[in-house]
């Protein structure tokens, strides 16, 4: 919550009246971005050490952003049942990771690996300069899946192949 408040202050978004901004000014945030800002979905953390959790931690070198995306996987079905994120960065980065957590829920791991940053960017109408934020979200998803798979391999031992 502090993150959200701090982020809101940083962006100067103190009210929900986004219309005056978006009319005619090309550098405003798209309403989807603002929506994810005002109503952030899935902010938080899971216990990293829980075997059903995969944690993806990525960073953007250019702007010093950090993004953490965690998935909770049903071990039997291999479906992602829940997701959380924590991002330190600009509004676009926060919105991208928020969208990512929404989109991975209820999907199989192999399916979420096909989520492309361009889809996220399109959904948020990200300007070219912010495309790397959506790329970061895509990388975070992949990192989370990879982490989960590696954890499974470790717990199940070397012999058994656990294709979740």
């Amino acid at each position: 919550m502090m993150l959200r408040q701090a982020a809101k202050k940083a962006l100067g978004l103190t009210s929900r009246q986004s219309t005056p901004w978006s009319v005619g000014i090309s550098r405003s945030y798209h309403e989807n971005v603002i929506d994810h800002y005002d109503n952030p979905r899935n902010v938080g953390s899971f216990d990293k050490n829980d075997p059903s959790i995969g944690t993806g931690l990525v960073g953007a070198p250019a702007c010093g952003d950090v993004m953490k995306l965690q998935i909770k996987v049903d071990e039997k079905t291999g479906q992602i049942v829940d997701a959380r994120f924590k991002t330190f960065g600009c509004g676009s980065a926060i919105a991208s990771s928020s969208v990512a957590t929404e989109w991975v829920k209820g999907k199989a791991m192999e399916e979420v690996l096909t989520i492309k940053n361009t889809e996220i960017a399109k959904h948020l109408s990200l300007p070219p300069v912010k495309l790397h934020c959506s790329m970061l979200a895509e990388d975070a998803i992949k990192a989370a899946v990879k982490d989960y798979k590696e954890k499974r391999l470790k717990t199940n031992g070397v012999g058994e192949s656990s294709q979740a």
């Binding site: 502090m2 701090a6 940083a10 990525v58 960073g59 070198p61 250019a62 010093g64 790329m135 990388d139």
Partner: protein, 265 residues
């Protein structure tokens, strides 16, 4: 003798005009004639002068060129036609008129500093003020419009140079760029230790309640910055460029954290 000098002068004027309307570096490269010295004090045969100038050019090309080694640096004053074998930053050595911005002059040269990462404390500030006294748009009223325009450009360049060189991170990135080592900013960082540390740092900043705590964190971060800056200098001098890039990455993160702290304070 005079006739040939006049001929040479008119050729260089033509070239100057071309150079000014096409300020790309390619013009410099394919114009060895631009090196013709029209210094009235030399009594040399023009052909010999041309040969001498070209040789001087080639030598100075190596000494002064901070970018590609085949780039010839020469400058011809638009006002008096005086040509120099070193890139004229700011003023023509002969008539003191302000010159247009020459992109081959790097920031270190502007401040008369060596092309290396470490800087002494006050070296930038004094020089910066000196330049601005000569260049600032408010102070060049008595010059022609053209010179005032050049002065404005030069002034902007000096400010940019000062800004880049003052901050450690931007200086580090600049010096890497000068040496042709471009840092890939697109690639996602996945180093878990680094990211965990940064995550915890940013969380601490977000959760810090009072300015005392924030100041504490800030001084810690500043110290880390200094440490990594020294590490960068070391790696850079020893040509360990991969390590140098890692240092820059860390510094970027620390700088971002500092910005966040300042915003909160």
């Amino acid at each position: 003798m005079n006739k040939s000098k006049k001929l040479v002068a008119s050729i260089s004027t033509l070239l100057i005009r071309r150079r000014i309307s096409h300020p790309s570096s390619s013009t410099l490269r394919c114009n060895p004639l631009a090196a013709i010295s029209t210094n009235p004090q030399t009594d040399l045969n023009p052909v010999k002068t041309l040969a001498v100038s070209i040789r001087r050019l080639q030598f100075s090309g190596r000494a002064f060129s901070s970018e590609s080694s085949d780039k010839r640096i020469s400058s011809v004053c638009w006002n008096c036609g005086f040509s120099s074998d070193k890139a004229a930053f700011l003023f023509c050595d002969s008539c003191r008129s302000i010159q247009p911005v020459d992109d081959s002059v790097n920031y270190f040269q502007i401040f008369g500093l060596e092309n290396k990462y470490e800087l002494e404390g006050g070296s930038l500030e004094g020089k910066y003020k000196d330049w601005q006294k000569k260049l600032h748009p408010d102070l060049v009223h008595n010059k022609s419009q053209k010179e005032r325009d050049y002065a404005a450009d030069q002034s902007a360049k000096v400010t940019e140079a000062c800004r880049t060189l003052t901050k450690r991170l931007s200086r580090a990135m600049y010096i890497m760029k000068l040496n042709g080592k471009n840092i890939n900013e697109e690639e996602t960082v996945t180093d878990p230790t680094l990211l965990m540390e940064m995550m915890e740092l940013r969380e601490a900043i977000a959760e810090a309640d009072d300015s005392k705590e924030l100041n504490q964190i800030q001084s810690q971060v500043q110290e880390n910055l200094k440490q990594w800056s020294d590490s960068f200098a070391d790696n850079f001098e020893s040509q360990r460029f991969d390590e140098a890039v890692k240092c820059i990455r860390r510094m970027t993160y620390y700088e971002k954290a500092c910005e966040e702290i300042v915003k909160k304070l």
